[in-house]
């Protein structure tokens, strides 16, 4: 048993210990019914969206065509209401990682082990990255599968990979945001409500700014707001790499606007904006986690 201390002699960051945290987190995620719920939810939503398109859009129309699979993914992630889907997904799977563990006290035996806080934090978020990647892939594959069943052969399947990648990035923005909020408020009870409140506040606030100043590309860099354009610009880009797309925003009658932008530029800005958001939330969350003290 003395082997333990010799293996722990090094005080620096250890990927081996981080891997153990990934295992700890993964075991938890697989056991929690929430993850099963999320996967079932994804499946049901995809089927419902597919059936909706099949019923309301005739075969041969844009969304009833060989691009149906990408429309199905897009409708889940784009727009004022459907944009909430990545937030629900990201929030549900990550609320237990930091907020719940602090809230319930399960973080105490974990922090009492000879493991660095950085290994715990980055181990947990890396596991979420793996899980979100798997869920994104599953969502895209399911979309393709159901689209083939509903309208027949699908085209541009090579775009399934960047689509899954962008979807993963969208969800990861919310995962990192949930991690950050968890380290900040240390309560899991109202986390989903808080996330929804902040998300809609930013969205509505951004539209007001757009109504006043018009839409500019830099606005896609606004945390949480900009990610709404990610998948839609990707779809426009793969349909026509040199084409333009119309970005519109509205809060009701007389409160709307829009502008045309090259899809490639919007995609680039949205991708950079989402990446920066995920990175910044992760780092702020990490700093808050480092300062964490277990009182009571």
């Amino acid at each position: 048993m003395r082997i333990v201390t010799t293996m722990l002699d090094k005080n620096s960051f250890s990927f081996n210990r981080m891997w153990s945290i990934i295992n700890y987190e993964l075991r938890g995620d697989l056991r929690r019914k929430k993850v099963l719920f999320v996967i079932s939810f994804v499946f049901v939503v995809i089927v419902l969206v597919g059936v909706f398109f099949r019923v309301f859009f005739p075969k041969g129309s844009i969304v009833g065509s060989e691009y149906l699979w990408s429309e199905m993914v897009l409708v889940l992630t784009n727009g004022f209401i459907s944009g909430i889907f990545p937030m629900i997904l990201g929030g549900i799977i990550s609320v237990d990682s930091i907020a719940w563990e602090i809230d319930k006290g399960t973080i105490i035996p974990l922090l009492s082990q000879p493991v660095k806080k950085s290994e715990i934090y980055f181990g947990k978020i890396t596991e979420k990255l793996l899980l979100v990647s798997a869920i994104s892939m599953l969502l895209v594959i399911l979309s393709i599968f159901i689209a083939i069943m509903l309208v027949g052969g699908q085209k541009h399947l090579i775009w399934a990979i960047p689509t899954a990648l962008c979807l993963m990035l969208e969800i990861m923005v919310f995962v990192s945001f949930t991690f950050m909020m968890g380290a900040l408020i240390k309560q899991s009870g109202f986390m989903m409500l808080i996330l929804t409140g902040i998300y809609f506040s930013i969205l509505i606030g951004s539209v007001f700014v757009m109504l006043k100043q018009g839409f500019h590309l830099w606005m896609t860099l606004i945390p949480l707001e900009g990610i709404n354009n990610l998948l839609v610009s990707l779809q426009h880009f793969f349909l026509d790499p040199n084409g333009k797309m119309f970005v519109n925003y509205n809060l009701g009658p007389g409160m709307s606007g829009g502008a045309w932008f090259p899809a490639s530029e919007l995609l680039l800005y949205s991708f950079i904006g989402a990446s920066i958001s995920a990175f910044v939330f992760t780092i702020i969350g990490y700093i808050l986690f480092l300062r964490l003290e277990i009182r009571g």
């Binding site: 201390t5 210990r17 295992n23 700890y24 006290g105 399960t106 035996p109 922090l111 000879p114 009182r295």
Partner: protein
């Protein structure tokens, strides 16, 4: 005896009226060291600082005569920690949690699988090893917490009220574990409100109150130093006032109080460790009174503790 951990002038402030201001503890190697104090006196805060769960605002900690840094995993690897009611993810089993924490400590899978079984046996949870923790009772959780604190065979174990709220069977299991640790020359810092338990188990104690160390040392020394009065309770078949006056006049008697007139009982306090029973019996005989009993009121850690915190 060699000192394993030394805590000097430890401080932690939550706000103006709470926290710890001056905690000093000297823990000898291979001993069970009692850590006593009322609720809110700073015991858990001190333990959490040692484990890096709270940051200290002042003071120093030494381990094996070297500076101890709670944020250093190398330092912390030598110490196991269990709280009064440890919480573990309810969807995992006892066996899984030990293996997962063992893997975090970089113990090989085969080794921790073996060690996990041994630890579960040690804490009487062998039969519940594959039961989900969510279905564990409070006693089982507490014992699992102790098993977790023993992963990797650390030199020192910190136990925060390990028998609090446990049924007699679980308490007895925990006490047996402490005896086992003592046999194996483990160093244990034990916080408990059961002072009888501490008196039986510990060689040394630290008593803290309102965030400060009041007294520290071996139980014997603490009892000697904190109490310089000795009490006797005597019962007679009759209690004539003349006899009372004679007893009060005995050398070394500081105080005589009638505690029960109906049963003719008195309580005597002496400032010296002298046996006054023969003198009392002689006075009773002289006054034609029969002394039914005269016993020394036994000094306990509990009484010393209560006296210390009330002073």
């Amino acid at each position: 005896m060699t000192e394993l951990m030394k805590i000097i002038h430890l401080q932690k402030y939550y706000d103006l009226n709470s926290g710890i201001t001056d905690i000093n503890i000297h823990i000898s190697k291979g001993t069970i060291h009692g850590f006593l104090g009322l609720n809110g006196s700073g015991k858990t805060t001190t333990m959490k600082i040692i484990m890096g769960l709270l940051k200290r605002d002042g003071g120093s900690i030494e381990y094996n005569n070297l500076p101890y840094e709670p944020s250093s995993i190398k330092d912390r690897a030598n110490i196991g920690f269990a709280t009064d009611l440890p919480y573990f993810p309810p969807y995992l089993t006892g066996n899984e949690i030990l293996i997962l924490y063992g893997r975090i400590r970089r113990i090989s899978k085969s080794e921790i699988t073996k060690e996990s079984l041994n630890l579960l046996k040690l804490v009487n949870l062998e039969e519940s090893r594959n039961k989900k923790i969510g279905k564990y009772s409070r006693g089982m959780l507490s014992r699992l917490g102790i098993a977790v604190s023993l992963i990797g065979d650390p030199d020192m174990i910190i136990l925060d009220e390990p028998t609090a709220g446990l049924d007699p069977v679980s308490s007895s299991t925990v006490r047996n574990l402490l005896v086992e640790m003592k046999k194996n020359e483990k160093t244990v810092l034990l916080s408990s409100h059961l002072l009888g338990e501490v008196q039986d188990m510990c060689q040394n104690v630290t008593i803290i109150h309102k965030g400060k160390t009041l007294m520290e040392g071996s139980i014997k020394d603490i009892m000697m130093n904190s109490n310089n009065t000795y009490s006797y309770i005597a019962e007679f078949n009759n209690l004539p006032p003349k006899m009372l006056l004679e007893i009060k006049g005995l050398k070394g008697i500081d105080e005589v109080n009638v505690i029960d007139e109906k049963n003719n009982s008195i309580k005597l306090k002496t400032s010296m460790d002298i046996d006054i029973r023969a003198d009392i019996a002689r006075i009773a005989l002289k006054n034609g009174v029969i002394m039914l009993s005269c016993t020394q009121d036994e000094l306990s850690l509990e009484k010393v503790f209560l006296k210390l915190i009330s002073d």
